[in-house]
């Protein structure tokens, strides 16, 4: 199982804040999961944005980050705190 969360503009665009996906061997890296979600089409194209940021288990990471069953993953636009 992979717990995926979406924040801010992505959450609004997608109309979902989190979901649980059954683990697939094909999710070797975070980008594999992202491509799986992009393939849903429509609003999911937002995950193809250049400024997309992501985190694995609450730590910022790159799209080449390896994934494991049970991970918490998050996708969000560039952060704007401070």
């Amino acid at each position: 199982m992979i717990h995926v969360q979406y924040f801010a503009r992505y959450r609004e665009t997608l109309g979902v804040d989190s979901e649980r996906l059954a683990w697939e061997e094909g999710f070797a890296r975070l980008d594999d999961l992202r491509r799986h979600l992009l393939a849903r089409g429509g609003d999911w194209a937002v995950l193809g944005e250049r400024n997309l940021m992501c985190a694995r288990n609450q730590e910022l990471c790159g799209l080449d980050e390896p994934l494991a069953d049970g991970d918490e993953v998050a996708f969000f636009p560039t952060v704007t705190g401070g």
Partner: protein, 148 residues
């Protein structure tokens, strides 16, 4: 080291004083306060909502503060960031550093703010005359963090 993520407001003066209290070895205290402006990128701003990633936010801030404490000889570090609804003129963020001498406190404070801007999971949604809009990240913020 103190990390706080809170809805309620805070008093910058009190935060600054607390960095010096109970430690006579502190010779320098530097504080940064960020406020909500009433104008941004060509539009009047009537207020904003700050969204964050509960759980990760605290970890991300602690990691940045830890890194600052590793690079500079700090005696105290405080990072306080507000979430939820904020009005123009209200304080959003406080970063305070205390050290024996000024340069470490100055540099560590700037470092923490620069990294907070690009690594801490907060997102601002502003209310403008033309409706709400998400604030977009700036390339200049990425540039600012590169100097460290």
């Amino acid at each position: 080291m103190g990390i706080r993520v809170q809805v309620g407001t805070f008093e910058p003066g009190r935060e600054l004083d607390a960095l010096h209290a109970a430690n006579a070895g502190v010779g320098a205290v530097v504080g940064f306060v960020g406020y909500v402006r009433d104008f941004n990128e060509g539009r009047e701003v009537g207020g904003m909502f700050l969204e964050h990633y509960p759980g990760m936010t605290e970890k991300a801030l602690a990691k940045i503060a830890d890194e600052a404490a590793r690079r500079w000889p700090l005696l105290r570090v405080e990072v306080l960031h507000r979430i939820g609804r904020l009005e123009p003129g209200e304080p959003i963020v406080f970063v305070g550093t205390a050290s024996a001498h000024r340069q470490a406190a100055f540099d560590a404070c700037a470092f923490i703010m620069d990294y907070l801007k690009i690594r801490a999971p907060f997102w601002k949604k502003e209310d403008t005359g033309e409706g709400p809009r998400w604030v977009e990240g700036r390339d200049s913020d990425q540039e600012a963090a590169r100097r460290w």
